[in-house]
Amino acid sequence: MIAAILSMAAPLMLAGIGALLTELAGSLAIFMEGFMTLGAFVAWTVTRATSSAWAGSLAAALVGAFLAWALARFCEKTGANTFIAALALNLAAAGITQTLSIAWFGTRGVLVDERVPASAKILSGIDSYLVLAVIAVVIIALLVKRTHFGLRLRAAGKDPEALSERGISPARYRVGSWAAAGALAALGGAALTFRIGAHIPGGVAGRGWIALVIVYLGFRNAWGVLAASILFAAAEYLSGIVQGTGTIPATLLLGLPPALSLVLFSITSTLKNRSIKH
């Protein structure tokens, strides 16, 4: 059971830690849902073509990083609203994957192929993507808290003027954080694909939005993101069990993750604001 919950937490950890970077750098990227969708599809497609899950994962990360970088540069250059531009990506991602799925594989349904394996188990049955996710969280936690780079990243969010006065461009950190977030979200999407070894359209199912909630739920802290991801994964696991018993209609259960997110998000926001006031 714990292994199942932890492997469900891996995609949330990856996307959550990416969203945390953008939040710390001063402009939360709400495109996580879109990049998870794209990442899940790219990972499946490239793995099928190359028979290598490594290549699939790498391709997903690169596509995510490049597109997010381009989007961030576009916003910097034109002064476009970052929320609305990121929303554009969320909307486009679903359309792009569906159109490409029809064009390349002739279906908009579930994609299965023997060349795309379910995630490899390493270290006596631990999901390889879980290892990747935990490593990502640890690296980013240390990077943000313990390095000059992390200090500047946080300064870009908290006090951009101070950073510019020292001759460092806060915009570069913002753009960089978006690129990293794009890559991490795409890896999170890839993790969803490899967990079952298939691509399910719409399989991201709001996890990209939950990743944003996880940032606040974890009090904008990398370890908090880790804990919040596991909490949501546990809820997902439980709702899977409840669905199995058939006592509550499956459609209704789809509303559970956002409802839980809303409650937890409201509580953490309230606590945070209380502590600031005192």
């Binding site: 709400i30 576009f74 916003c75 250059k77 034109t78 002064g79 476009a80 609203n81 929320f83 609305i84 531009a85 929303l87 554009a88 990506l89 909307l91 486009a92 679903a94 359309g95 569906q98 159109t99 029809i102 908009r108 709001g206 939005w209 944003l212 909630v213 606040y216 209609p249 459609t251 209704l252 259960l253 789809l254 509303g255 956002p258 409802a259 997110s261 809303l262 998000f265 409201s266 926001s269 309230t270 945070k272 604001n273």
Partner: protein, 364 residues
């Protein structure tokens, strides 16, 4: 204080001219880009590009049926666009439109189906409207209260509320409220006497369109010529100044989010009692998101919403008729939305000028 206020207003006006010109060109560029992209997509995807493009550009204007449907659609987009624009003006961002439209429509259908037979038509319709406004308004107001009382970000909370409500509505429509005698995942049909009179049979255009247009003009008046409207705009555009003028900008968050939700609920009512005649699963699809696109194109100007909604409705109708005629299925709708969202807030002119020669107005 009053003198200060007047100064600020004039400043705003002076600035306003230059800004609004640049801004209008941004909206028009975004629309042109959306048209060009749809044209390319359709031409690439269709086996017979000539026919497909004809049904994209010309058919919607020549067939009264499509024209009527297009006008009907634009009416719904005006109302949701108004909701989005009002929230924007008051300094909030309503991302829960889809769920609010869904809830409003479902609540209205419930009233229309269960009202006593002997109740007169206008009163029943009025009751349905009130219930739809209340359902959508409640969802919006919750986000507003969470923001002003507890500092919860309304962009995320409104989206989460919408995502919670949609599955519940899906469940109600496919379960308890479903019409068992029909194969559709939908409620029973609303009695004909409780539908908005159609204007252009057999299209779905109906008198709710008139209501939508009047509402746009009313909000233009409300925002520019009433004290409350003025305060909402100040609270949204310059919260610090609002504090100097003696009122807290957060006071308006709950009312504008509530009103925004109520307008979405009204669009849901218009859709079920005007367009569809019943409430089917997922009927709100796109009305909420496209409302955001339309409000962005119109730069939150209520009267400008009318042409913006019409343009957007044409893009939707045209692209779907082109895809139908070429027998393809593709999500052009999402691409159009995406392009509009990407470009509409961008200042492309300065970017473009870096690529132009100096004698054409390029940057040195």
């Amino acid at each position: 204080m009053l003198a200060e206020m007047r100064d600020w207003k004039q400043d705003k006006k002076r600035d306003g001219k230059g800004v609004s010109r640049g801004v209008a060109s941004g909206s028009i560029l975004a629309l042109i880009a959306a048209v060009v992209l749809s044209t390319i997509l359709i031409a690439l995807a269709a086996e017979n590009p000539g026919d497909a493009l004809k049904s994209f550009f010309i058919t919607p204007w020549t067939s009264l049926y499509l024209l009527g449907n297009m006008m009907d659609r634009s009416g719904l987009l005006i109302v949701t666009g108004l909701g989005i624009a009002l929230a924007f003006k008051g300094g909030t961002f309503n991302l829960g439109g889809e769920g609010q439209v869904y809830a409003g429509g479902l609540a209205a259908v419930f009233v229309l189906l269960h009202a006593p037979e002997n109740l007169s038509t206008p009163i029943t319709m009025l009751a349905a409207l009130v219930v739809a406004l209340a359902a959508g308004g409640f969802l919006g107001a919750v986000s507003g209260i969470l923001k002003s009382r507890f500092g919860v970000d309304e962009l995320i909370s409104s989206f989460l509320i919408s995502s919670t409500v949609a599955p519940i509505a899906d469940y109600l429509i496919s379960g308890p409220l479903r019409d068992p005698s029909s194969n559709l995942l939908a409620t029973a049909r609303i009695p004909a006497r409780l539908l908005f009179p159609r204007i252009l049979e057999p299209s779905s255009m109906n008198i709710s369109l008139v209501g939508a247009v009047l509402l746009a003009f009313y909000f233009a008046f409300f925002l520019t010529s009433t004290a409350t409207g003025y305060r909402i705009r100040v609270a949204g555009s310059n919260p610090l100044f609002a504090r100097f003028a003696g009122f807290s900008p957060s006071r308006y968050w709950m009312p504008v989010m509530g009103a925004s939700g109520a307008l979405h609920g009204m669009a849901g009512f218009f859709a079920v009692a005007g367009t569809y005649g019943l409430c089917h699963r997922g009927f709100s699809g796109g009305i909420g998101w496209n409302g955001i696109a339309v409000a962005l194109i119109a730069r939150n100007n209520p009267v400008a919403l009318i042409p913006a909604a019409l343009a957007f409705a044409w893009l939707e109708t045209g692209s779907s008729s082109a895809l139908l005629s070429s027998g393809l299925s593709m999500e052009t709708g999402t691409f159009i939305q995406a392009v509009v969202f990407l470009l509409v807030t961008a200042r492309l002119l300065p970017l473009g000028r870096t690529f132009l020669p100096v004698w054409l107005g390029g940057r040195k």
